[in-house]
C-alpha cells in the first residue's frame, strides 16, 4: 500500500467492520456485486440446472421424468445417428477452420507489418467483413455460393480451360462443408488485428541480431517471429476452438443442416431437439457432451502450451 493514502486508511479503520471486513473491503465487494448476482443467476445457476435437466426427460410442459444417465448412454452409444454425424461435421469444420484462420491472419498481418503505405486503409478493408458477421453475412454468402454465384464466377475463370465448372456448393454433400469453411475465412479480421498488434510488439533488435547471425527471411520468421508470437497464437486458437465448436448461424440460415445432414452441426442439432421439439432433457445432454468435448480440447491446449508457448521474461 502506498504511503499517500495512509491517512485515508486510518480513517477507514475507525469505521465499523461488516462481517469482519473493513469498510474498504466491503466497498470493493459491493462494486463487483452486480457481476456476482448476474453470474449466479445467468451462468452458474443455469450451468448446474442444465446438468440436472440432462438426467431427465422433460418436454417443458408436464412432468419431469428421472432418467439417470440414459440420455448420455443414448448419445455415446451412437444410437442417435444424427448426433454422431453432427459431431463428425463439427469436428471437420473446426479442424479446417481454426488452423486456416490462424495461417491466413498470420500471413495478412505479416504483410501489413512491413513499412506499408496506407496501412490504415488496408487494415480497415481486412477488418470490415468481421464486423458484418451474422445473418447479413450468411445471407450474402448464400448468394455468393449459388451455382452461378460470385465464387463460381471467379473459379470458372480458372476452370474453364479444363472444361470444368465450379461445384454446386450448397447442393452437394461433398461441397457444402468446404463452402461454409471458405465463407468462415472471410472474417479473419479480429485474429488478424491481434496478430498485427503482436508483430508490432516484437523488438527490432532481435531481427537485427538474427540478421547478424546470417538468418534469411524464413530464418527470421521461424526463429524470431513465430516464437514471440506464440502467446497470441495460443490465445486465438483457444478462443477459436471454443467458438467454432458452437458454429450455428451460417448453417441454420444457409443450409439448414443439409443437404442430407452434411452440414448438421451439434448446436443446430441441439436447437432442433430443444427448441423445435422441446425435448429439453435430451438437448441438455447434447449441450453437456459438447461442453465436455470443448473442455477436453481446451485443457489439451493449455497443457501443450507449456511446451510451445513462449512468454518473454517468464522463461529464460
Amino acid at each position: 500500500m502506498a504511503e499517500a493514502d495512509q491517512p485515508a486508511v486510518q480513517r477507514h479503520r475507525r469505521r465499523a467492520r461488516i462481517f469482519g471486513w473493513t469498510w474498504r473491503e466491503t466497498q470493493g465487494f459491493l462494486f463487483v456485486l452486480p457481476w456476482l448476482f448476474g453470474f449466479a443467476i445467468f451462468i452458474a445457476g443455469p450451468f448446474f440446472f442444465s446438468f440436472f435437466v440432462s438426467l431427465t426427460q422433460w418436454r417443458f410442459i408436464g412432468d419431469l421424468k428421472w432418467l439417470g444417465l440414459e440420455n448420455y448412454v443414448r448419445l455415446l452409444s451412437a444410437d442417435d445417428q444424427r448426433f454422431v454425424q453432427a459431431v463428425y461435421n463439427t469436428t471437420y469444420y473446426v479442424v479446417f477452420h481454426v488452423p486456416g484462420v490462424l495461417i491466413i491472419s498470420f500471413i495478412i498481418a505479416g504483410l501489413l507489418n512491413r513499412k506499408v503505405r496506407g496501412i490504415a486503409i488496408y487494415r480497415t478493408c481486412f477488418y470490415l467483413p468481421s464486423i458484418t458477421t451474422g445473418v447479413a453475412t450468411a445471407v450474402l454468402w448464400y448468394w455468393v455460393l449459388q451455382p452461378n454465384g460470385l465464387l463460381n464466377n471467379f473459379i470458372n475463370i480458372f476452370l474453364a480451360p479444363f472444361g470444368a465448372r465450379g461445384p454446386n456448393w450448397l447442393g452437394s454433400t461433398t461441397w457444402a462443408m468446404p463452402g461454409l469453411i471458405i465463407m468462415s475465412f472471410w472474417t479473419v479480421g479480429t485474429t488478424m488485428i491481434i496478430f498485427l498488434a503482436g508483430f508490432q510488439g516484437i523488438p527490432q533488435h532481435l531481427y537485427e541480431a538474427a540478421e547478424i547471425d546470417g538468418a534469411g527471411w524464413w530464418g527470421k520468421v521461424r526463429n524470431v517471429t513465430i516464437p514471440l508470437m506464440t502467446p497470441q497464437i495460443f490465445l486465438t486458437s483457444v478462443i477459436g476452438v471454443i467458438g467454432s465448436f458452437q458454429v450455428f448461424t451460417a448453417a441454420l440460415i444457409i443450409t439448414e443442416g443439409g443437404p442430407a445432414d452434411a452440414t448438421l452441426f451439434v448446436l443446430l442439432h441441439l436447437y432442433q431437439i430443444g427448441f423445435t421439439a422441446f425435448n429439453m432433457g435430451y438437448a441438455s445432454a447434447i449441450a453437456w457432451v459438447l461442453f465436455l468435448i470443448i473442455l477436453f480440447f481446451t485443457i489439451v491446449q493449455f497443457i501443450s502450451a507449456k511446451r510451445w508457448v513462449y512468454y518473454e521474461g517468464v522463461r529464460a
Partner: protein
C-alpha cells in the same frame, strides 16, 4: 536513390556494387509482391460487400446475369422502397436499435463498475473471483441455453426484449459479458494510481472516484466496449431466435432469415435476391457507419485485450 545509398552503406566491403544492385532488385521485388498480395486480399475482402450493394440495386430477374454485371443497368433504387413497403422493416429496425442501445448502455455502466472494483479495490477473494470471471469466457454458452430459456419462460419474459437486455445490466454476468469487464479493467490498470489516491486523501468516496475520475479517464475503453457491444447485439441471431417468436419484437437478423424462406422472398428458388440484398444493406448500414466513425477505438480494443491475453 536514398534507399539505394543506405543499402550500399550497410553492405560495405567486398563487391559492393553487385550486392547493392542485387539487394535493391530483391527489395523491389519483395515490395511489389507485398503490395500485390495486400491488394488482392483487400479486393477479396470487399468484393462480396460490393456485390451485395450492386445486387440490391438490380432489377428483378437480372441478379444472376453472366458475366456478372457490377454496375446495374437499370439502377433500381426502388428496391429499397419496396423492401420497406412489403414488410415492417422500419419496425424491425427500431426493435433492433432499441435492444442494442439498452443492452449496450447496461453493459458499459455495469461492466465499468465491476471493472473498477477489480482494478482498484482490495477485498477478500478478489483473485479467485477474477479467475472465475475470466473462466466464464471459456465456458461455451451452449450449456446454459436450455436453462436460461426455462428461466425466462418462468418469468414470462419470452416474446419480450427483456431476456436480450436485462442480463447485460449485471456487469459481465451475461454470457460473454466478462469480456467487457476484462477490457475496461485492463485499461484502468494503466491509469496512474496517484489520481485516485490523491482523491482518497481529499476525502472522496470510492464511488465518487469511479464516477468522477476513472470513468472520464477510461473513455477509450468505454467507447471500445460500447462499439463491440452494440455490434454484437445488432448482429445477434441465436438469442433473438430463441427468446422472440412473435412478429411484434422481431429483429432485423430474424427478419432476414424469415425473408429468405417466406414472405416477399417468394420461397425456395424464387428468392427476390435484389430485395433480400437491399434489406441486408439496411441492416449493415448502421454497423458500417459506427465502424468508420470510431475505428481507432475498435482496433485499440482488439489490441488491448489481445495482448493482455498472454
Amino acid at each position: 536513390m536514398q534507399r539505394l545509398a543506405r543499402i550500399s552503406f550497410q553492405t560495405s566491403g567486398g563487391s559492393t556494387t553487385q550486392r547493392t544492385l542485387f539487394a535493391y532488385v530483391r527489395m523491389a521485388l519483395g515490395q511489389t509482391f507485398g503490395y500485390s498480395a495486400l491488394l488482392l486480399v483487400a479486393v477479396i475482402s470487399l468484393l462480396p460487400l460490393a456485390w451485395m450493394i450492386s445486387t440490391s440495386l438490380k432489377a428483378f430477374g437480372r441478379e444472376f446475369l453472366f458475366p456478372p454485371q457490377w454496375i446495374p443497368n437499370p439502377v433500381v433504387f426502388g428496391n429499397y422502397i419496396t423492401a420497406f413497403e412489403t414488410s415492417n422493416l422500419a419496425r424491425y429496425f427500431g426493435n433492433t436499435l432499441m435492444i442494442a442501445v439498452l443492452a449496450t448502455l447496461g453493459t458499459v455502466l455495469s461492466s465499468s463498475l465491476v471493472a473498477f472494483g477489480f482494478a482498484r479495490l482490495e477485498f477478500f477473494g478478489k483473485r479467485v473471483l477474477f479467475v472465475i470471471l475470466l473462466s466464464t469466457l471459456m465456458l461455451p454458452g451452449i450449456v446454459t441455453l436450455v436453462p436460461t430459456f426455462v428461466l425466462f419462460k418462468t418469468l414470462g419474459w419470452i416474446d419480450t426484449p427483456l431476456p436480450l437486455i436485462v442480463p447485460w445490466w449485471f456487469g459481465g454476468g451475461a454470457f460473454g459479458g466478462a469480456f467487457f469487464v476484462f477490457l475496461i479493467r485492463q485499461f484502468m490498470l494503466q491509469l496512474p494510481r496517484e489520481l485516485d489516491e490523491a482523491a482518497l486523501v481529499d476525502g472522496a468516496s470510492y464511488f465518487r472516484i469511479y464516477w468522477r475520475i476513472m470513468l472520464p479517464l477510461s473513455k477509450p475503453a468505454l467507447a471500445a466496449s460500447a462499439i463491440f457491444s452494440f455490434i454484437h447485439h445488432w448482429n445477434d441471431f441465436l438469442n433473438p431466435l430463441i427468446f422472440l417468436n412473435s412478429e411484434e419484437w422481431r429483429t432485423l437478423a430474424l427478419y432476414l432469415r424469415f425473408f429468405l424462406y417466406t414472405e416477399a422472398g417468394g420461397g425456395a428458388g424464387l428468392t427476390r435476391w435484389n430485395l433480400m440484398m437491399a434489406a441486408s444493406v439496411v441492416m449493415l448500414l448502421p454497423v458500417l457507419v459506427i465502424f468508420f466513425s470510431a475505428q481507432r477505438y475498435f482496433i485499440r480494443g482488439v489490441a488491448l485485450t489481445g495482448i493482455a491475453g498472454r
